[in-house]
């Protein structure tokens, strides 16, 4: 053997962490390590999955040459007791077979599992190189053990078969071994039938079978796991291999890239087996040997069977398949027969231009479409646009509102194809910036549909392209700090209370490793050895894939069978399937994905359009709403934005008066500005200062090159990067990244966060900018901004699409407040505010709101004519908690001219007693003109539903009318409380109004009075807590209080948060004393100096004072008093 081939080794049994909770290293780590060790090849073979291969491929692409060959395969784990088999496709056809094989296994198993039998392998083995691993059976280790014991039963006893002493004995690896000869009968022992009727295949039979079906494509894989009898085992396999004429192949059955990963692997094993380290016992590996080993070490281990080493490279040489052979084909459906996709697209664009602009297409538009079409032709992506167009066309035909966004969506082509409603001429968007020629990546268009009707679109896609060609992309669910610490904590035997605290359960915390600060915040000592250890492992675990889930709406459509490209498995929903790759994998392989997403505001807008058409006779659609109406902007400038898409949050509301949007592009900026990216990058204040003229707009220049280079990138946003594209462009222009590097940077932020690649990019970015003569501080700040974008990127094109919906919803709110409020309520749950706030806001805009009534309400909220000629909002039965839609339908169906009596309703609508009680509790019999309390008391007298039918009718008739004393009169405050309990809102009065006298006597102001107060004035204010928020790491808490007059904004500085923590976190009705602060644009805050929890006042409302037992304080803490059942809706906290 030549010296060269001696050092040649390929590790073919590699398990990555995409064999969930079994592999201890990322694919990239394994690929990099194999390259460091100089392996000829590395074979990624995860447990019945190809989920990790694209990650390995991406990492492999980045390796410098020479690099090991990357083999893509899978470890087949069988349900029938067959030993594991590694399968490596030789060519594209073999790869297709492997995908089909895995898909078949997945389809017959519950979600996330894969059930394979030997028969499946026999059926799909064509083109696969197979390595039988007789020592390993992942599905049933005990079977493997039995199997081995059977094989070994004829091994010679110790002494006879062991090594002779003259070979020397040392702690070092053994270098020379004489194999023991032994009778062959042991290996031929037939294996007993296993339990449950599954047959355990005898190894000889298995090898014979596979040899006949897959001649010259079969190996016997053996590893040396340091179990004491390794050499005897090896000699047994050696003999068997010779006898069966199947080559022996060495492997190390790798679970992690370096031995140091053993502890983490043990932790993973415990998580998988739901046990603790103390209890795990032999579930854990006995030693740390299953890492990637050097060729030399492998050779020493296999010194007695050197051909097993050389077979690894032989196998690798036979593989001709790489992932770039996967050719993606666009589906042909949208293209008429005999026409090229490009031609068809051009024709459609031409048609669209005429529809949009008539005969006189503006030159500028014509120029853009021509330019875009040329680029599309060059990149050969016309079918993509046609496919999206096809889906959008269907939605439009069904009157489902939709709007495209994403990198390619805001092009002139998309506009004339009606995919988007944003006129690309109105804002200057450069198409080629989004479609990178160099990257040759397909463009990305996300289409939002009404959330309640997206399913129809999905069904259309299935029916048009067939389930074998359409499937959802996967989402890799990775460990986040919170889930990681919870699981690791369990493994270390920490109680749930402790891990919950470490997970930062109160303030949230996503996307970054656990920081010492957070642990301190949880009041745990990070130096406690056990906790420190758990945290260290949790940090290591963050970013590990946990399982695959389906993407919310990313569809992969192909011309060929999808299951020959990637394994496809069933999703949770019946008849829905998803592939094993996620969006980054699809990007890497340049496949096409259409995002079919659900957006609540579209549902709301469509419902509002319908109501307006019905009640106001005005026909509107997304494109025809009057543009740039100054009244709409006026309203937004006042932060009058409850219910308006995107700009209704507290943060947006305080931004609106400062930004004072006056045109569409201002809205685009508004949407992009209040995001974690710009906030983390500290870009918000510089932008506002420049906009208000307090700071000069300037563009730092480099020492060399175009001094105006930044002006070109940033002029639209006054020199402050706000959009993701600008950040990327900044990297290209100022730090002179190549487009590929910039793209790599974007990806490093988004996905491979854990691999430390960001650091590399940061170094490069900052140093290059400094090199080119920029201020270091400026360079740092730019990078910080880019970092922020990584996880919360908001490209200009997205912002533009969203801004369009901001404008439309604001327009509806301004000019059709009744319809808008009604549509908002009917589209719940969505948005930021509870129904109570939506109704209150509508009433403030002069919409009359009417209570739920059995004679007037439908299931949905509706619009009625108002006496003053306007429109009134009639609350629907859907607002009544725990009332059911089918009850409402029954009731409405038999209503006719209305019910005159409760008994008539009960009889006609055949509603259950429970339904009637709910209606009575909700005070919805008002038009029948009876006291709520009396009706409720009467309804309760109705016989129970489960009475025998024979007696039921008679019962009601014959029961004599009771002559009973009247019940105590229901106070208005009790009414309101009852309304809140049943509807989560009350039209009768605001809860706070009952307490006004009390608070007034204490000198407490109403929210409206706070808004009118002078800057710096000392004031106190009390109200129901609507929201509590603590943005980022600031430690500041923002509270929104509400009373019968208005909403008040409270700010609590960190120092006071710790003092009044109890009140802030626990109170439902707070009294805040502090200082009024009037900011820019008339935003008023009350800066808290003292916070008092006055929630007890709420209890009085449902009590008649004189009856309240004086010894209430003694009442049982366990009894759940109805009055303790929330009387006010829960606040929405910490989003």
């Amino acid at each position: 053997m030549s010296a060269h081939s001696e050092s040649a080794y390929a590790e073919l049994a590699v398990t990555t962490n995409y064999s969930f909770l079994r592999g201890g290293s990322h694919p990239a780590e394994l690929v990099q390590r194999a390259a460091e060790l100089g392996h000829t090849a590395i074979g990624i073979a995860d447990r019945n999955t190809l989920a990790g291969v694209v990650r390995a491929y991406a990492a492999w692409q980045e390796l410098p040459s020479p690099k090991p060959k990357l083999l893509v395969g899978a470890r087949l784990v069988f349900a029938d007791g067959t030993p594991d088999v590694l399968a490596y496709p030789q060519d594209r056809a073999g790869y297709g077979n492997l995908c089909r094989l895995l898909s078949a296994g997945k389809l017959r198993a519950p979600k996330g599992d894969c059930v394979l039998t030997l028969e499946d392998l026999a059926h799909w083995q064509e083109g696969l190189l197979l390595v039988v691993l007789p020592q390993n059976n992942e599905a049933a280790p005990e079977l493997a053990e039995r199997f081995w014991n059977k094989q070994i039963s004829a091994l010679p006893p110790l002494g006879e078969g062991a090594r002779r002493a003259d070979e020397g004995l040392s702690g070092a690896p053994i270098s020379a071994i004489e194999c023991a000869e032994r009778p062959s009968s042991g290996l031929s022992a037939t294996f007993p039938q296993g339990g449950k009727g599954d047959h355990f295949c005898d190894l000889r039979q298995l090898l014979t079978l596979l040899k006949t079906t897959a001649p010259a494509r079969l190996w016997l894989g053996v590893s040396m796991p340091y179990r004491g009898d390794d050499q005897r085992r090896l000699s047994a396999w050696h003999k068997l291999a010779r006898e069966m004429d199947v080559p022996l192949l060495a492997c190390n059955d790798v679970l992690y890239h370096v031995a140091e990963r053993r502890p983490l692997h043990d932790v993973l094993t415990c998580i998988r087996e739901h046990t603790t380290l103390d209890q795990a016992g032999k579930l854990l590996q006995p030693n740390a040997e299953r890492h990637l080993k050097s060729a030399v070490e492998m050779q020493e281990l296999f010194a007695t069977a050197p051909e097993a080493i050389s077979q690894t490279t032989k196998l690798a040489a036979q593989v001709n398949f790489t992932l770039d052979q996967i050719k993606y084909n666009y589906p042909e459906e949208p293209v008429p027969k005999g026409k090229s996709p490009q031609k068809h697209l051009e024709d459609l664009v031409e048609q669209g231009l005429h529809l949009r602009y008539g005969q006189n297409v503006p030159d500028k538009v014509r120029a853009s479409t021509d330019k875009e079409l040329r680029l599309i032709a060059k990149m050969d992506i016309a079918p993509y646009f046609l496919t999206v167009h096809d889906i959008v066309k269907f939605a439009r035909s069904q009157k489902i509102l939709c709007q495209g966004r994403g990198s390619a969506a805001n092009s002139a082509v998309c506009y004339v194809l009606d995919i988007t409603a944003v006129d690309p001429m109105a804002i200057d968007l450069l198409f080629e910036r989004f479609i990178s020629e160099e990257r040759k990546e397909p463009p990305d268009i996300d289409v939002d549909f009404e959330h309640e009707r997206r399913e129809e679109v999905i069904q259309y896609i299935y029916s048009r392209y067939g389930r074998h060609r359409a499937a959802l992309a996967a989402t890799v669910i990775c460990y986040r700090p919170r889930s990681a610490i919870r699981e690791v904590g369990k493994v270390f035997g920490l109680t749930e209370d402790v891990t919950a605290r470490m997970g930062g359960s109160v303030w949230g915390g996503w996307g970054r490793g656990l920081q010492e600060r957070e642990i301190r915040q949880g009041e745990l000592d990070p130096h406690n050895a056990l906790i420190a250890r758990a945290v260290a492992f949790a940090n290591e675990l963050v970013g590990f894939p946990r399982h695959l889930s389906q993407h919310v709406g990313g569809f992969i459509l192909t011309q060929d069978r999808l299951d020959e490209t990637v394994p496809v498995g069933p999703a949770t929903m019946e008849n829905r399937f998803f592939i094993e790759w996620d969006k980054d994998d699809i990007d890497t392989l340049r496949m096409m994905k259409v995002d079919v997403l659900a957006l609540g505001i579209l549902t709301c807008i469509r419902k509002a359009f319908d109501l307006i058409r019905l009640h106001e006779g005005v026909s509107l659609d997304l494109a025809s709403v009057r543009r740039e109406d100054p009244q709409v902007y006026e309203m937004l400038q006042k932060a009058d934005s409850i219910g308006v898409f995107q700009v209704e949050s507290r943060a947006q509301m305080s931004m609106l008066p400062r930004l004072k949007p006056t045109n569409f592009y201002d809205l685009v900026i508004e949407v992009a500005l209040v995001r974690p990216g710009p906030i983390q990058g500290d870009m918000v204040h510089p932008y506002l200062r420049r906009r208000s003229g307090k700071e000069k707009v300037e563009y730092p220049s480099p020492k060399h090159g175009d001094p105006n280079e930044l002006r070109h990138v940033l002029h639209k946003t006054m020199g402050v990067p706000l959009f993701q594209e600008q950040a990327m462009k900044l990297a290209i222009v100022a730090a002179q990244f190549t487009p590929d590097e910039a793209n790599g940077l974007r990806r490093a932020m988004a996905t491979f966060r854990n691999l430390g690649t960001i650091g590399r990019y940061k170094e490069k970015f900052v140093s290059r900018m400094i090199e080119r003569g920029y201020e270091p501080e400026f360079a740092q700040r730019c990078f910080k901004q880019i970092e922020g974008f990584g996880s919360y990127g908001f490209p200009e094109s997205h912002a533009a699409s969203f801004a369009h919906l901001v404008y439309i919803s604001a327009y509806l709110k301004k000019f059709h407040p009744a319809a808008f409020a009604c549509a908002l309520l009917n589209s719940q749950p969505m948005g930021f505010y509870a129904p109570a706030e939506i109704v209150r806001d509508a009433r403030e805009h002069e919409v009359e709101a009417r209570h739920v009534d059995v004679n007037f309400s439908d299931w949905d909220n509706t619009i009625e004519a108002s006496l003053n000629g306007g429109l009134a909002l009639r609350l629907g039965l859907r607002q009544v908690s725990s009332f059911r839609e089918d009850w409402a339908k029954k009731l409405v169906a038999v209503r006719g001219n209305g019910f005159g009596a409760v008994s008539a309703l009960a009889k006609k609508a055949k509603l259950s007693k429970q339904a009637l009680i709910i209606l009575a509790e909700a005070d919805s019999f008002q038009s029948i003109d009876k006291d709520r309390r009396e009706i409720l008391w009467a309804v309760r007298r109705l016989p129970d539903d489960d009475d025998l039918p024979l007696f039921a009718a008679a019962y009601v008739e014959e029961q004599p009318d009771e002559n009973i004393a009247p019940l105590p009169i229901m106070a208005l405050s009790e009414h309101v409380v009852a309304d809140y309990q049943m509807l989560r809102l009350s039209l009768k009065a605001n809860i706070m109004s009952f307490l006004r006298g009390l608070f007034q006597a204490e000198g407490v102001l109403s929210c409206a009075e706070i808004w009118a107060a002078k800057d710096g004035a000392k004031a106190a204010c009390a109200g129901i807590v609507l929201t509590r928020q603590m943005p980022g790491d600031s430690g500041v808490v923002f509270i929104t209080l509400s009373d019968e007059t208005k909403i008040a904004n409270i700010v609590v500085w960190p120092r006071l948060v710790s003092v009044f923590r109890r009140e802030i976190m626990g109170g439902r009705l707070l009294l805040v004393e502090g200082k009024v602060q009037r900011g820019e644009g008339d935003v008023v805050h009350l800066v808290a100096e003292r916070v008092t929890d006055r929630s007890d006042e709420l209890l009085r409302l449902s009590e008649d004072e004189q009856d309240a037992p004086s010894y209430k304080a003694q009442a049982s803490p366990t009894a759940k008093h109805p009055r303790n059942v929330q009387t006010v809706p829960k606040s929405r906290d910490f989003h």
């Binding site: 062991a162 040392s170 053993r262 016992g281 409720l936 105590p968 626990g1066 803490p1117 009894a1119």
Partner: protein
């Protein structure tokens, strides 16, 4: 006795408002600056508070609150997982303790007791004094407790919770409970809510409605509860100690005082008890002999067995052993007037067939021996080895009570491959012994003797348990080796700075 039956029932209800936290506080010495204490348990997918101490309650924490919220409000908080068994046990102990006030004590779980004091209140003066005595003594023991006395348990319970210390006079229930909130009726949440919504917020208001009105809406059972709260009718209370399923007792007109007689009585009782159990196909796991002394003292002696048992001879033998070795011997005083033998815990037991299988018979013998040894020396003194699931050789076993019959997770058999020479010695040295190895020829220098090794196999690499910092950490390479005399050794080399060799055991 007849008089007692005619007497009106008088029930004293006790309510331990903070039983779980009181239990924990009693266990621990009071810290100088104690933290608020709460008990949490998992409910509706979140950890929620199920008990709070006084301090926590004052800070606004309450039962049912999610723990996360509680922590957000009060970060400095001591949280202990719920332990309902321990609470129940404590309630039982409290009931035991209350035995001194009356023989009839009923549990009112999870946190109450009901004492029938009609016949015993006079021992402490009157009812007022009895109540005061009970409450003050319990409070001195640091229990948060409230109590009240009434004719029906429901009235007493309601008053104990809402009007601490109240004693209802003759037919005074209706008046006493009238102003209590309707929750005091302890009806289901729906009914309570319905009353409140109707504006009927006190028991008095509810009771003021027509009977037919209530019955038509909430059923006759609600009506009877309202009646009971007002002192009419009343469900019987369930005495605490439910009689065991199987028991035999003997009454003596003349108290017996000699141990011989006692033994003879026990023998008879054992025979009868076993016959009873035989008929039902049961065997005893826990037996108790109770000796009721004429002066009212009771002595109970318990015996536990490792497996179900119903052989009178064996049973008698066990009892005899136990009685003979009592640290505090049975004191008959003026004699026992009742002796009772009860099987407190039984389990199904197949009819015994004489087995030809020697092994099975041996097992029975061993079990019997174990039980006898345990009866004599105590459970913790008779032990056996159990395998433990770990790779680390010296940690692969543990000691456990010999009566523990539950099969270990890994049977011993699994630790040794049946068809091969043993991989590990049966016994390991207490401490591995440092040895030296010499090469050419391979010799083992151990205990001052050199042994030439002829065969060896290995290494078996065993990594240590890294998560136990106190345990050894260096991985070991184990070898099995044989010398020319055929003696086999289990050697290992500790991987460290300098490899060191040890003998960990010898194969027999």
């Amino acid at each position: 006795m007849m008089a007692a039956l005619k007497m009106k029932r008088r029930l004293l209800a006790l309510w331990f408002q903070r039983l779980p936290t009181d239990r924990l506080k009693r266990l621990k010495p009071q810290a100088l600056t104690p933290l608020p204490l709460v008990i949490a348990e998992k409910a509706q997918n979140a950890l929620r508070l199920c008990a709070v101490d006084h301090m926590a309650a004052r800070l606004g924490l309450h039962v049912g609150q999610p723990l996360a919220n509680a922590r957000a409000m009060v970060p400095e908080l001591e949280v202990v997982p719920a332990n309902p068994q321990a609470d129940a046990q404590l309630l039982n102990q409290l009931a035991d303790w209350c035995d001194r006030f009356t023989p009839v004590v009923a549990l009112d779980p999870p946190d109450g007791l009901i004492l029938e004091i009609a016949g015993s209140a006079h021992l402490f003066g009157d009812e007022q004094h009895t109540l005061e005595k009970v409450i003050s003594t319990l409070r001195a023991k640091h229990f948060t407790v409230q109590g009240a006395i009434a004719n029906t348990s429901l009235a007493a319970r309601a008053l104990a919770r809402h009007r601490d210390g109240y004693i209802v006079g003759e037919n005074g229930e209706a008046k006493a409970v009238a102003s209590l909130p309707v929750e005091a009726l302890q009806l289901d949440a729906t009914t309570t809510h319905a009353f409140r919504r109707a504006g009927l917020k006190t028991i008095g208001q509810v009771a003021g409605r027509k009977r037919s009105e209530i019955a038509a809406r909430f059923g006759a059972s609600t009506l009877s509860i309202i009646d009971e709260a007002q002192g009419q009718g009343g469900r019987p209370i369930t005495p605490r100690q439910t009689p065991p399923d199987f028991w035999q007792a003997q009454n003596f007109a003349e108290p017996v005082a000699t141990l011989d007689v006692v033994r003879a009585v026990l023998q008879t009782l054992a025979v009868n008890l076993c016959t009873l159990m035989q008929q039902e196909g049961m065997g005893a796991r826990h037996l108790e002999a109770s000796f009721y002394r004429a002066d009212g003292a009771i002595r109970r002696v318990g015996v536990e067995t490792g497996s179900a048992l119903r052989s009178p001879a064996v049973l008698d033998r066990l009892l005899h052993d136990k009685l003979a070795t009592l640290a505090d011997p049975l004191d008959p005083g003026f004699g026992f007037d009742l002796i009772r033998l009860a099987a407190l815990r039984v389990e199904p037991m197949a009819p015994t067939a004489q087995s030809l299988d020697v092994k099975a018979r041996e097992q029975v013998e061993v079990d019997f021996l174990t039980d006898r040894l345990v009866a004599r020396f105590g459970r913790s003194h008779v032990r056996r080895f159990h395998p433990r699931d770990t790779h680390v050789p010296e940690a692969a076993w543990r000691m456990a009570s010999a009566q523990e019959r539950s099969p270990p997770a890994t049977p011993w058999q699994a630790m040794r491959t049946p068809l091969e020479a043993p991989r590990r010695p049966l016994r390991l040295f207490q401490r591995p012994e440092l040895v030296e190895l010499a090469q050419d020829p391979l010799r083992l220098l151990w205990r001052r003797a050199a042994r030439t090794l002829t065969h060896w196999e290995g290494p078996e690499r065993i990594a240590m348990e890294w998560w136990r910092p106190e345990a050894p950490q260096a991985a070991r390479d184990y070898y099995r080796a044989e010398d020319e005399a055929g003696r086999r050794y289990w050697l290992y080399c500790e991987q460290g700075q300098r490899p060191q060799w040890f003998v960990h055991g010898v194969f027999t």
